[in-house]
Amino acid sequence: MITFLAGLVILAFSLFLQFQLAGFGLWFNLALAVLIAAAFIFDFWELVFLDLFAVFLLNWEPAPTLTLITFALIPIAAFLSKKVIRWESWIHAFVALAVGFLLFYLIIDAHFFTSHLITFVTDLIVGLLVGELVFLALS
């Protein structure tokens, strides 16, 4: 239970930091990185709760959007990939973070991805660092 509460606090802090940085025009998907890392730590329903908690705070309009559906499904897909692929957890988390961020950008706005490649690479590097740190801290 302590691990779960620590995960919840880390997720809440990552969301807080993400909102604060966005205020300065710095867009990092810290919450997505934390959730993908959490997929390798927590049980399914614990992950679903964390996922919905993030969606609850990130949601910005009163209708389902592709952005938030994609955001919510990527950590679940990372969790399910554990059933199919048997790698060392930290390597699996690293690959899942990279693939998750790539999919997130491509599905939400492929044109943005191609025209803002530096933004993506920066976000990915920060996401990999944050995700791996969270994974190591919680595992």
């Binding site: 239970m1 969301l15 807080f16 993400q18 909102f19 604060q20 966005a22 205020g23 300065f24 025009g25 867009w27 998907n29 049980d43 329903w45 614990e46 679903v48 709760f49 919905l52 908690f53 969606v55 609850f56 705070l57 990130l58 949601n59 910005w60 309009e61 009163p62 209708a63 952005t67 939400i108 706005d109 943005f112 025209s115 803002h116 933004t119 976000d123």
Partner: protein, 226 residues
Amino acid sequence: MSYRKQHVWIFILASAALAILIGFKPAYGWRLRAWLSPEGEAQTTDQISLAADNASLRLQLTALQSGQSAASNTNTADGIHAMVYSSYPFGFKSQIVLNAGSDAGIQIGKAVTYQGIFIGTVQSVFPDSAVVQTIFDPSFKTPVRIGSQGIDALLVGGSFPKATSISKSVTVTNGDNVYTAASGLPYHLLVGTVAQMSASADDVFKEAGLNFSYDLMDIQSVLVER
């Protein structure tokens, strides 16, 4: 591990509660997020208001100099006042959500202003809320005019919106007003002022970086064209 199996129903019920809140009462999430988001630190509300008033007066002066009726173009008395609920939380777009929708008479495509300054257009409408695409959205484009000569340009959105496709033969000076000139939008709404001129990437046109007298993150209420 055993505690997890014992407490799985707690997580299922808590997840269901969150899903209901997300689906039926998203405003609770918006309020919580507003509490976590930064408040206007760089400028106070009074400072922003003064800057916006100043810009609006400059626009009226430009309109008078170019022989147009400032009163008719900056008339906002017939707009719909709305509060800003939340904004798009990722870097792909720039959207804000208002607390008024079709029930209040808001329609898709209408201009949205902040203290007389054009900030975007209504993109989608719900019964009690509306989504506004702002000029800071990378996909935002609209025709504009610059200065008292009414030089044609195309406003291209993004983190740093620019007035593009400006003929190389015209003279644009820093501080010139940039205002709306698109069909379907009120004419002569101030967008911003020219900050710096440069050549376009293909060197065929000139383009202007813009200054804005407000910070989008600080906007709490707007006026929507009726």
